[in-house]
Symmetry: C2
Subunit: 449 residues, 2 copies
């Protein structure tokens, strides 16, 4: 039977693109954290939408479960096999069409990396609005499937806000397509919106029509020292009110700054230690420094360091960007990507520190989105007691168990903490409607049921 499927897949994509060799397959079987993975039945590498459709039909005929895989940068196990699935790698769908300067849009294949997309937009005098650390490997298909977030959401929204249209292969091998770039298109249910964030369980994204934003050449960066999360939120609210060029507002705490310094990734620019730090970046067509400086004068903060050249800007950003790496230097952390309503963020941060009695808590996040990355160091990575405790706190504070990473395998059992039985029933109904045999990424997002 396995050989029949292999032959059927080879007939679609060519023999060279159906991998069964254990060594070749290995690279597709584990995620980069090393936490998730399993044996793949086969790895298939289609090169076009038609080939993806053929692959899905062949798998459907064989009753073989499919795991779609993009850049394999996910953190919740949604893009690697659990054991026995066919991995469909979208890496070869890396076509990037010419930028449409009139619409300020581009059509990109699922396998295009974020970095390639950014460069392509820049070359056309525009920019792509989503950005985050995994840019060299993360791909458009995965970004759509997980509704990727990142640092600029406060200005531009998540991936959802960038998707003008999608092309995707459904579980029956049919292809749906909306790639003409219509901003206003109220003709029927918005299937692209349903697919964004569905983590490969409802369809396989093959191409996306994406909006581009103006390329803003002038930047201003400042690091604010504040009393704590409450003060950070007030700072954010004031900046949003007065500074139209606001692009990123990142929150760190004392423990994070100390960790980054200890691990040599950056250094605190202030003479005395402060409880919390807010890194602010502005971008505009004309120098946003005046606008930022004017706002700063009116703010009541402990201290502020303003970058006046690109070296100083890089030094301030090193504190934030070095933080995940510094954390990893201390062993395998418990990492929980969550969000809470802005008003409850300070109470939530306090509650986490209080509830997690053992282990070292390092919090950071995107303050404007209510998105905190909760890291707990020094505990057994396989004991999920702390994860459970933190996610229960999230639910108590009206938050979401996943802000930007998705549910994947990692959090499927906790979905019910922040989604009601009625919502989960509706999700199951939609899943059954579009994938009655349960072939697409089974076990991801929705636990079997």
């Amino acid at each position: 039977v396995a050989d029949a499927l292999r032959a059927a897949l080879a007939a679609v994509v060519g023999d060279a693109h159906v991998l069964a060799d254990r060594e070749l397959v290995a690279g597709y079987e584990r995620d980069w954290t090393g936490r998730f993975g399993g044996e793949a039945r086969l790895v298939v590498r289609p090169a076009s939408t038609e080939e993806v459709a053929g692959v899905v039909r062949a798998c459907a005929d064989a009753g073989a479960a499919i795991v779609p895989q993009g850049g394999n940068t996910g953190l919740v196990g949604g893009g690697v096999p659990r054991g026995g699935e066919v991995v469909v790698s979208l890496a070869r769908l890396d076509g990037l069409e010419a930028v449409d300067p009139l619409a300020a849009q581009v059509t990109a294949g699922a396998g295009v990396t974020l970095e390639a997309l950014q460069g392509h937009a820049r070359a056309a005098g525009l920019a792509f609005a989503v950005d985050y650390g995994a840019r060299s490997a993360a791909t458009v298909g995965g970004m759509v499937a997980t509704n990727a977030g990142g640092m600029h959401v406060v200005r531009y929204g998540t991936m959802r806000a960038q998707v003008v249209g999608l092309e995707a292969v459904l579980a029956d091998g049919s292809v749906i397509s909306r790639l003409t770039g219509l901003i206003k298109d109220n003709a029927g249910y918005d299937l692209p919106s349903l697919l964004v964030g569905s983590e490969g369980t409802l369809g396989i994204v093959t191409r996306a029509r994406l909006r581009l934003v103006p390329r803003l050449g002038e930047r201003a960066t400042a690091l604010f020292a504040v009393e704590g999360a409450e003060a950070a939120l007030e700072l954010f609210a004031e900046l949003r009110r007065h500074v139209g060029s606001l692009e990123a507002v990142e929150l760190m705490f004392r423990e994070g700054i100390e960790l980054v310094e200890a691990e040599g990734f950056g250094s605190d620019p202030f003479d005395v230690p402060h409880p919390a730090y807010v890194l602010v970046e502005c971008a505009a067509r004309t120098d946003p420094m005046d606008e930022l400086a004017e706002a700063v004068d009116a703010l009541d903060v402990r201290d502020v360091a303003v970058a006046s050249d690109s070296n100083q800007r890089a030094a301030l950003w090193a504190l934030r960007e070095g933080l995940p790496e510094a954390i990893n230097q201390r062993g395998v952390p418990h990492k929980l990507d969550v969000s809470v309503p802005l008003a409850t963020l300070p109470a939530f941060a306090d509650a986490v520190r209080e509830r997690v009695a053992e282990g070292e808590v390092v919090l950071f996040g995107h303050v404007g989105d209510g998105n905190l990355h909760v890291n707990v160091l020094g505990l057994d990575p396989d004991d999920e007691t702390v994860d459970q405790a933190v996610l229960e706190l999230v639910a108590e504070h009206g938050g979401s168990v996943s802000a930007e990473h998705g549910i994947g395998i990692a959090k499927a059992r906790w979905l019910s903490l922040t989604r009601s039985p009625e919502e989960i029933a509706a999700m199951h109904a939609i899943k059954r409607a579009l994938d009655p045999a349960g072939l697409l990424n089974p076990g991801v997002l929705l636990a079997a049921g």
Copy 2:
């Protein structure tokens, strides 16, 4: 049987809010164009989400079809009965919670009018991003259900982009709710996204959590005279590149200006007639006139009139806002709200004028969205030959048969012109999954099938 349903509904909402009297019911039975409507079995006016859920359960038990109704300002017959349905008016769900200044969000009941929402946001120093002519009557629930657009989409997106979360009653009477205002919430399928634009066929929206935007006090308005649609698009592209404060870009043609002048709604500020007119509005925290003036100097246009006070601004806007009214003075027009890819807009406009041999064509629209309102005057309103011809042209140009008004009853038969059989099959599957008995707004959006 009818009496049993009436009693069941009265038990939910109280006798006074179940209307059967023909005179009282009449106001709910026809749309404001007079084109769509039919007899309602009953009209029910629930006052809370729980009552809506009770109403839906009672109707489900009786197998009675439901037509949800908001402000009844729709243009495609999606909110009025076709004959024999229970009309569920959401007008009494008019609660407006306090603005959350930290999150810059508000929770509004389905029955809140756009005007009330705008005033509420303004009082908190913020603004609601969507605006259009029917603001005094259009309600939040209807705006969500139809993914309302309007004049500011070029800057802020459609209603979809304003919806942070929703509360809705599904066809089985269950209530789903996401009202905590999370910007990043990747925990399962985004049910609110699916409901936006579903025209009451998948659920009844009862409350919405909406983002608010900064209130921008400084405005600049200019009317450009250009050669035609091609030049209008070039103008738009240049303005978007250089003018960050761009908020509305409206396109009119010679025939529209003449009509508005003839009907006394406004007057052309230029000394000589021009083929096309682009009305531009900018808004910012600080006076956007410099930014606009600088861009104007670099532009190659036939002429430009810049408003320097609020009277002049109103005079320029009168040309655009008077246009629909001026059209109505000439009898019942054929009105088609469509969108096409920006690059094909000029060719589409030419093709419409060429294809429509009889009748007088008046085109206007939101040029940045590719959204044209095609009006044909002087033909029999009941003969849909011209509608069919125009919508076929839309399909040929890669556009959508509905830009911002939705499909409703009016265009259900034409959905297949711009949606593929695979897309329509997926829509039917979703509809069957969430409303297996077909109780919610039958015949709207999807033709029976």
